[in-house]
């Protein structure tokens, strides 16, 4: 086979699809095509998108559309059931509108999950690429640190830190980010290890690329698909952790609503108003379920081993 044979081929088949050839797609185009025909994943994305939309427009929805707010208390309107007049999803133990609190709580819960996932992703990428690329002592130290941090049960250390510092939503993001990067680092490090020996990295080096350029222009984009999958699962995991922490009373403190602390607050009144327990839990479950489904769908979509 001579060198210019491919050129001849391309010249011959000007309209590859008509001639029985499918045009070659890159990884992301292929993934997009697969996602497009993956109904469960699409459905999960739609539901999650709806939740995000609801959370973003919480002030508008509750004040303008439903004419309620999340702070007004009313002794006379305590424990209103679902679908009561003026309060579509009832009221809580202080007579506050439950729908409005769920909307605002979703803002905090989703916001914490998303922000913390991005923070830990950022830390994880930098540390992981660094450790994998340079190896040696820095790598050993980072691995020791990760092993150590991962040997302390997550909730134990979170309880410890939260009890010490009484976090707000913003500090909670910081805490989750600082504790949550280890898994992503391991992943990125392992990938970097295998990628840095490949030919295109050697080629880049031969052309005089600096270490920084190789790490962040050549290696990181090549593990990007992996990171997207990890991100959606990390957000789900973080929402679960936040709610567990809030349930124990160490998360964001009331009266700021999150799904987790609404659930633990509603616990005492489960007998009088079971919807205070059902609804926040249902929202957490649905959100995390969608995020995990999306993660699974993305994994299949990006998997080169699965044939179309």
């Amino acid at each position: 086979m001579t060198k210019d044979q491919p050129a001849v081929r391309i010249a011959k088949f000007k309209h590859p699809e008509q001639d029985g050839f499918t045009p070659s797609l890159n990884l992301y185009q292929k993934a997009f095509r697969r996602i497009r025909s993956d109904r469960p994943t699409l459905l999960a994305m739609a539901v999650l998108g709806l939740f995000v939309l609801l959370a973003v427009s919480a002030p508008f929805l509750s004040e303008t559309v439903f004419q309620v707010d999340q702070v007004t208390q009313s002794v006379r309107n305590k424990y209103q059931p679902l679908f009561s007049p003026g309060h579509l999803l009832g009221t809580d133990e202080l007579g506050r509108d439950h729908l409005s609190r769920l909307l605002y709580g979703g803002r905090i819960s989703l916001g914490i999950g998303i922000a913390a996932a991005f923070l830990s992703l950022g830390i994880g990428i930098v540390v992981g690429v660094f450790a994998g690329f340079y190896g040696g002592f820095a790598d050993d130290f980072i691995i020791w640190f990760i092993t150590t941090l991962n040997s302390i049960p997550g909730l134990f250390i979170l309880m410890l830190i939260s009890a010490v510092w009484k976090p707000t939503a913003a500090t909670l993001v910081l805490i989750f980010g600082i504790l949550g990067w280890t898994g992503i680092t391991r992943l990125v490090r392992a990938e970097t290890y295998s990628i840095k020996e490949r030919e295109y990295i050697i080629a880049a080096r031969a052309m005089g690329a600096s270490n920084w350029r190789i790490m962040f222009i050549h290696i990181v984009p090549n593990i990007f698909s992996l990171l997207i999958i990890t991100l959606s699962q990390a957000i789900g995991g973080l929402i679960l952790t936040e709610s567990a922490l809030s349930f124990l009373g160490f998360g964001v403190q009331p009266p700021t609503p999150t799904w987790g602390n609404m659930l633990s607050g509603g616990l005492e009144y489960a007998r009088k108003a079971p919807h205070l327990v059902y609804l926040p839990g249902l929202l957490i479950t649905t959100t995390v379920f969608c995020l995990y489904l999306i993660g699974d769908g993305l994994r299949d979509a990006f998997d080169p081993k699965i044939a179309d």
């Binding site: 640190f145 302390i152 659930l263």
Partner: protein, 359 residues
């Protein structure tokens, strides 16, 4: 093999060392120093407080305080009467020799003693959860792999994702509400039960003096906590099992086994299942780890008197010695769980080489 075990144990030492540093560092940054906690009484004079501060060594630099906590101070001279000069040997043995100080809340109790009282309850719950989780997960995963692409497979995959996504505490609460409120009310009109809870709502045994009866007499207390904490493992393991089984049955020796005319049950169970389980031992470590971490939640919902609940109570009442001890012990248990799983993996798969290769 002994060398492998020895090396795994040696590797745990730096980890353990790091854990003590992290835990001590967090506690040092905690607001509310031990002196003001111990001298909450307003009748105590300021100079006495200062004496106590010197005696406890809270003014020493970080590394000195850390070393006194870690290895004790009975080998060094300390300033016991707070006159500015060292005069006598210290009397702490340090956590490495089992001296974790004394609990603030339970005056004079050794935190290790408190933990050893509670450890049995946690281990009992977690062993039961591991057994149920493994059995259920492996069974569902096996069936899903055999029924690949059919309804059972699809629904079990959805169920597995759902099992991961449901917060354990919410599931526990729903179980309590179902057994304590909804079902009794629904069954009462039909003459079944008297409207009282069907299963005990929490605790490890009826509140009697002199400890709990043997385990077979209080199994009904375990049903809900064990089911709730084994939900995550069932979900995870059914997925692992399905993937591993599918990988195994596509391998050459399965084709050979089929070709020589074995019954399909023989192929699936004797050749497939047994080989598919081996790689799963890798996940045993994380499973144990997750259960220890999750024990705080489960024990809190069901008021199960284990170390999770002990830690929770200690954090709430700011009983720092007990908090630090529980975290360190929890971490040690996790490390041991990981090591045990690794050893089991090495034992079950003779292909594993005990070389020092990087992960």
């Amino acid at each position: 093999m002994q060398r492998y075990i020895a090396r795994r144990l040696l590797q745990a030492i730096p980890t353990l060392f790091g854990i003590t540093i992290i835990v001590y560092f967090i506690m040092l940054l905690a607001p509310g120093d031990p002196v003001s906690l111990m001298t909450f009484d307003p009748t105590i004079r300021q100079d006495e407080r200062e004496r106590l501060a010197i005696k406890l060594g809270v003014n020493d630099p970080f590394h000195v305080q850390y070393l006194r906590w870690l290895i004790g101070d009975d080998w060094m001279m300390v300033d016991s009467n707070a006159d500015g000069e060292v005069d006598s040997w210290g009397d702490n043995y340090g956590i490495l020799r089992g001296d974790f100080g004394t609990s603030f809340k339970f005056r004079g109790s050794n935190p290790l003693h408190l933990i050893s009282q509670r450890l049995g309850a946690t281990i009992e719950l977690n062993i039961a959860a591991v057994l149920i989780g493994l059995t259920g997960g492996l069974l569902i995963g096996l069936l899903a792999a055999l029924q690949r692409g059919r309804a059972f497979d699809k629904s079990s995959r959805i169920f597995a994702v759902l099992g991961d996504a449901v917060p354990a505490f919410w599931f526990g609460l729903l179980a309590i509400m179902l057994m304590g409120l909804v079902l009794p009310r629904a069954l009462e009109p039909y003459g079944i039960g008297d409207g009282s809870p069907i299963l005990p709502m929490g605790g490890r045994c009826p509140p009697v003096r002199g400890g709990c009866p043997p385990i077979y007499a209080r199994l009904h207390y375990m049903i809900m906590p064990v089911l709730v904490s084994s939900m995550g493992p069932i979900a995870g393991w059914s997925r692992f099992m399905r993937a591993s089984m599918l990988e195994t049955i596509n391998s050459d020796y399965i084709r050979t086994a089929k070709a020589k005319g074995l019954t399909s049950r023989g192929v699936w169970i004797r050749h497939g299942l047994r080989n598919a389980i081996i790689p799963l031992t890798v996940f045993l470590g994380p499973l144990v780890f997750g259960l220890i971490g999750g024990s705080v939640i489960i024990e809190r919902i069901f008021s199960w008197p284990g170390i999770g609940l002990l830690l929770f109570d200690a954090v709430v009442s700011r009983d720092y010695p007990v908090v630090m001890t529980s975290v360190v012990i929890g971490a040690i248990l996790s490390i041991l769980g990981y090591i045990a799983a690794d050893i089991l993996y090495a034992l079950s798969d003779p292909r594993v080489r005990f070389s020092g290769a990087r992960p």
